[in-house]
Subunit: 203 residues, 2 copies
């Protein structure tokens, strides 16, 4: 049996869907949470092939990075993967669409001037957030719901929930983010009310 | 047997790795190439769940989009997929890293002012292109080469080749892009010299 160590900041961020997948599936993993600026953090960055976190240490010696690559890998070990090539295609279509939005929002994340950053953030929620959320809403409307594949939750739903949770936090986004997107709101509720996810979030 | 129609502009772009995978594997597909501005093009955009191309029409009725999702799907039908969960993890790690660069470069693609665009492009090749190419080079150096998984070419190598081909074209990038990256150069050569890829590129 393989051993897994997930290395990230002490926050949810891009590691949270991976932690949830491990937890839901009962796969043991070491949940290493490092504070930026510590020697351990610097060492973890250096050890990561891409110089970024989260990273996953396999069997104590092989280190890989990239959150989506790790999420897909862990999902593939569990029952939260797509079971057929077409299922996986649909899940990936949703996730790549979400990541188009995340890539677009990078202009806000990377902006150093706090005034410009605030303006760009405001603009993002006015202009392209609704565009991408509409795409996801439309895709969900074509399925039976509440999840991407109907009544079976997959890693894709968990990744989307994790993003929407952050962006509905007024500190990072807007509390009313989903008010015009009933299908996305139902998907979100479906994930956070899933008993295993609920248990994990209350730990 | 399923039927496949790939819909895109009449250019390589994000559709080319998908065309190559179909071609290498002898899977028949309809290679629909549309000119922007035509009614057919507008109809294809409207039919795409995410409103973008490439799209893939499955059996004449189900339409999916997102180039990487489609690439992964077609790869999964062929021998150019990762054969194990770990193989797939490694391929995905490379691809997500490449797509971090593509996402970053979006600031150039999206810029409308031609002077600012030219400056941003110049800056990209001076600053962050080398950073991301170094990450990929380092990742390749940890493998036996020339491909991500050693001597077996996968869809990931084809996606990277397709990007590097475009970016070594002086019109879109820099001819000497890979001069400091011998492993990436070897991977690139490995893909373009693969007999099936060579045959396709000469069609």
């Amino acid at each position: 049996m393989s051993s897994y160590e997930l290395v990230y900041y002490n926050s949810r961020g891009y590691a949270e869907p991976i932690r949830i997948l491990f937890n839901l599936s009962g796969i043991e993993f070491k949940d290493t949470r490092l504070a930026a600026g510590t020697p351990e953090f610097a060492a973890a960055l250096k050890r990561s092939p891409g110089g970024c976190l989260p990273s996953l240490v396999l069997d104590g010696n092989r280190v890989v990075c990239q959150s989506l690559a790790i999420t897909r890998y862990v999902a593939s070990l569990t029952d939260y993967k797509g079971r057929t090539a077409e299922d996986t295609l649909y899940v990936n279509m949703f996730i790549e669409t979400l990541y188009d939005l995340i890539a677009r929002y990078d202009e806000v994340v990377k902006e150093k001037d706090q005034n410009i950053k605030a303006k760009k953030k405001e603009g993002a929620y006015e202009s392209y957030f609704p565009v991408y959320l509409s795409k996801l809403e439309k895709m969900l409307s074509a399925q039976s719901g509440p999840f991407i594949l109907g009544d079976r939750m997959t890693w894709g739903d968990i990744v989307i929930m994790s993003f929407l949770e952050l962006k509905q936090n007024p500190e990072y986004g807007r509390a009313d983010l989903l008010s015009n997107f009933p299908k996305l709101a139902a998907q979100y509720r479906g994930v956070i009310e899933e008993p295993g996810v609920k248990r994990w979030s209350q730990l």
